[in-house]
């Protein structure tokens, strides 16, 4: 097959068409399956239209602002010195992959360093990894993040040319966290970051997926568009800690899909933090494909001004004896708008499932807004499922308790707002990142509303 992906016709005039049109020509890969994947995705991208608020899954999230702007892929990589971006580095992470405006930056990355060469662990960009490890990548890449009905995932996959790849072989525990750092530096640019994490049987790894902005000063308030897709596969008894931090610029658009597949008795723990972007949407889908899997999905959305942040999660208990715990919190100030849609599905036959979901929301102003929609869909009979959502202001009993210990009312409110967010940050298993984000939450909650 020699055809390139751009040979597929795209509906002229569609928004996706305009995004796709700017893509540099992708050379066909020597791997037929990768070409086929891109071609299928491109076909879907050509047919799918962008969601509107008339779509049930996008009812609360109006992205029409995005469609009014035009974005093009970065034509050239911004040259950055390590010193420019060192403040983003995480001290515990000995291996790091850095992408600047979607383009891999080998000079800033420390692929695989600190990981025993003979352990078989791969931390690399896709282009470099695929020649030697195609057989370890093929069964996973593009197999979990469905693009049939998702225009954004389709667009990302259609132009899948590079990615952050973490492969952990059987029974290997990677001690130090792996940092996947995506830096936006140019305005009006669209990037399509891609991550693949494969944890083979009995292995363990912590992955930090981190979206940051390093604008030139004059572009401080300019938009860019990130359309990310992450796939994580856990084989039997594997353990993955996944920390996701979205701290994009205040005018950015950030749309992301993450698909996680859990093998028998595997354990997936995720903490996702959404701080930035004008409009953001995170779809996290976790499927328990085999018995006895455990997952913990914690999230914090901390927004103000005119931000909109939407988190959609789906925990699919497809097999028996699985458990899931979810705590998602939103702190909403200014006239910002947060959305949480948390669906827990217990399929027929998924007996002895234990699912707990809690969504707590704090509104700091009269104009702040939250739409929350916890959903339980249970098709098995012998299960334990709980869920609950609260929306409100700070508890006056808590404020009084702190006042009775000498704190002023204002100090008590700030401390409680901070604590509300810190409860989620506390669950991040990387100390320096935890401290850094605690500081961010502290600064944000003391300056809010």
């Amino acid at each position: 097959m020699s055809e390139t992906t751009t040979s597929i016709p795209i509906i002229a005039g569609s928004y996706l068409a305009s995004l796709l049109a700017g893509q540099p020509q992708l050379a066909a890969s020597p791997l037929a399956w990768l070409n086929a994947l891109r071609r299928d995705a491109l076909e879907r991208a050509g047919v799918l239209t962008l969601p509107t608020t008339r779509d049930e899954e996008w009812r609360f999230t109006d992205i029409s602002l995005l469609t009014k702007m035009s974005f093009a892929p970065a034509q050239s990589a911004t040259h950055l010195e390590a010193a420019d971006v060192a403040h983003f580095f995480i001290e515990e992470a000995t291996s790091r992959l850095v992408f600047v405006d979607g383009i891999y930056a080998p000079a800033l990355s420390t692929a695989g360093i600190g990981i025993g060469a003979d352990s078989g662990v791969v931390v690399s960009n896709l282009s470099a990894a695929i020649a030697a490890h195609a057989s370890r990548i093929e069964p996973y890449l593009g197999r979990h993040a469905a693009f049939d009905n998702d225009a954004f995932a389709a667009q990302n996959t259609a132009f899948l040319h590079d990615a952050a790849v973490v492969l952990v072989p059987r029974d290997v525990a990677v001690e130090a966290p792996v940092h996947l750092l995506f830096i936006a530096t140019q305005k009006d640019v669209v990037s399509t970051p891609r991550c693949l994490v494969v944890a083979e049987a009995g292995s363990a790894v912590t992955v930090i997926e981190d979206y940051v902005v390093l604008y030139q000063p004059r572009w401080q308030e300019e938009p860019h568009f990130t359309n990310a897709v992450t796939e994580i596969a856990l084989a039997d008894n594997a353990r993955v800690n996944h920390v996701r931090v979205q701290r994009e610029g205040s005018q950015a658009f950030h749309i992301a899909n993450c698909a996680v597949s859990l093998g028998r008795a595997s354990n997936y723990s995720s903490v996702s933090v959404a701080l930035g972007a004008r409009i953001s949407r995170y779809n996290l889908k976790v499927v328990q494909e085999a018995e006895g899997a455990t997952c913990t999905l914690d999230g914090l959305t901390l927004i103000s001004g005119r931000q909109l942040a939407d988190t959609h999660t789906l925990i699919d208990h497809a097999q028996p004896h699985g458990s899931s715990h979810q705590l998602h919190k939103c702190i909403v100030g200014g006239s910002a708008h947060a959305v949480f849609n948390g669906k827990v599905m217990v399929r027929k036959g998924a007996q002895r499932t234990d699912a707990q979901q809690s969504n707590r929301n704090l509104l700091l102003t009269g104009k702040a807004h939250i739409d929350t929609k916890p959903q339980l869909e249970i098709f098995a009979s012998d299960v334990k499922c709980t869920h609950g959502a609260t929306v409100g202001q700070l508890d006056s009993e808590e404020v009084f308790y702190l006042q009775s210990r000498g704190l002023t009312e204002a100090a008590a409110r700030k401390l409680l707002t901070y604590a509300f967010g810190a409860e989620v940050i506390d669950r991040i298993p990387v100390a320096s990142l935890k401290r850094q984000l605690e500081q961010t939450v502290l600064e944000q909650t003391t300056s809010l509303p």
């Binding site: 006042q403 009775s404 000498g406 009312e409």
Partner: protein
């Protein structure tokens, strides 16, 4: 202990208070001098916890009449945090959980806030750590309490110990312990009581609000007051608590009603 020439720390006169328009405290008189330990007993709904909360300044309670002087100062002119800094402490019946705030961070914050108010030296995290660990020994608390979030996931007994730890740190002039004995097993009760006893000096005072007599086996009160329908209807020594334990509250109530009737017939 009752001392000669001790000074009045708390002076409550004709206090009336309501919550949601319902009168709870009705003409309450109560005086506490330095060095004393008082027990306020009474049945559920008699108003004893309301009294404790009104003293601390809980916003849900409205003071409709009466005065409270704290060291001669009008207590109701002070906000809750100003009362705390002035030396009034309330150990909560149901201590609030504050997940996300480390206990040691919280304890240091409250300690330093009060120290600053008193013109005393604030402690940095290291100095405070030594200081608080010493105080924790008093309550037989394990140091890992410091690393946990404030009261979050603490058992009932652990929460109460954490309250008394705060009392130990803040060194109040008047400490009001609201049902501190509820939810404590016998060992925890003994430890908490020991802690309180060690904190009792001739310069401060302790007011124990309780339903049951059992805490008073360990903390011996100088005065026992019986509260009913929002006022104190009888005051006695420590023997009164034992009598209440064996005879219940009914007889005090009957006695007080009888006395009221007699008083009315005299005036008539």
């Amino acid at each position: 202990m009752i001392y000669q020439d001790s000074k009045i720390l708390l002076d409550v006169r004709g206090l009336c208070a309501s919550v949601n328009g319902i009168d709870i405290l009705k003409d309450l008189d109560f005086t506490v001098r330095s060095g004393e330990i008082h027990a306020i007993m009474g049945q559920n709904g008699s108003g004893k916890s309301t009294f404790a909360k009104v003293l601390a300044g809980h916003p849900a309670y409205e003071v409709t009449k009466g005065t409270v002087l704290f060291e001669g100062q009008d207590l109701f002119a002070l906000k809750p945090e100003e009362r705390a800094r002035a030396g009034l402490f309330l150990a909560f019946q149901y201590p609030i959980e504050v997940p996300g705030v480390g206990n040691s961070q919280f304890l240091r914050l409250t300690y330093n806030t009060v120290q600053k108010q008193r013109g005393k030296e604030e402690l940095d995290p290291l100095e405070f750590d030594d200081f608080v660990r010493e105080k924790m020994k008093l309550l037989e608390m394990s140091p890992d309490f410091l690393d946990r979030s404030v009261n979050a996931g603490f058992s009932g007994g652990e929460k109460k110990r954490n309250e008394i730890l705060q009392m130990a740190l803040l060194a109040p002039l008047v400490a009001v312990l609201d049902e501190t004995d509820s939810g404590l097993d016998i060992d925890a009760l003994r430890i908490v009581a020991q802690g309180v006893n060690q904190l009792s000096t001739k310069d401060n005072a302790i007011v124990i609000v309780t339903h049951y007599q059992r805490l008073l086996n360990y903390i011996v009160p100088d005065y026992v007051h019986v509260m009913e329908a929002g006022r104190i209807i009888k005051t006695g020594g420590k023997a009164l608590a034992l009598e209440l334990e064996s005879r219940g509250y009914e007889w005090v109530s009957a006695e007080s009603q009888g006395a009221a009737k007699a008083a009315r017939s005299v005036t008539a």
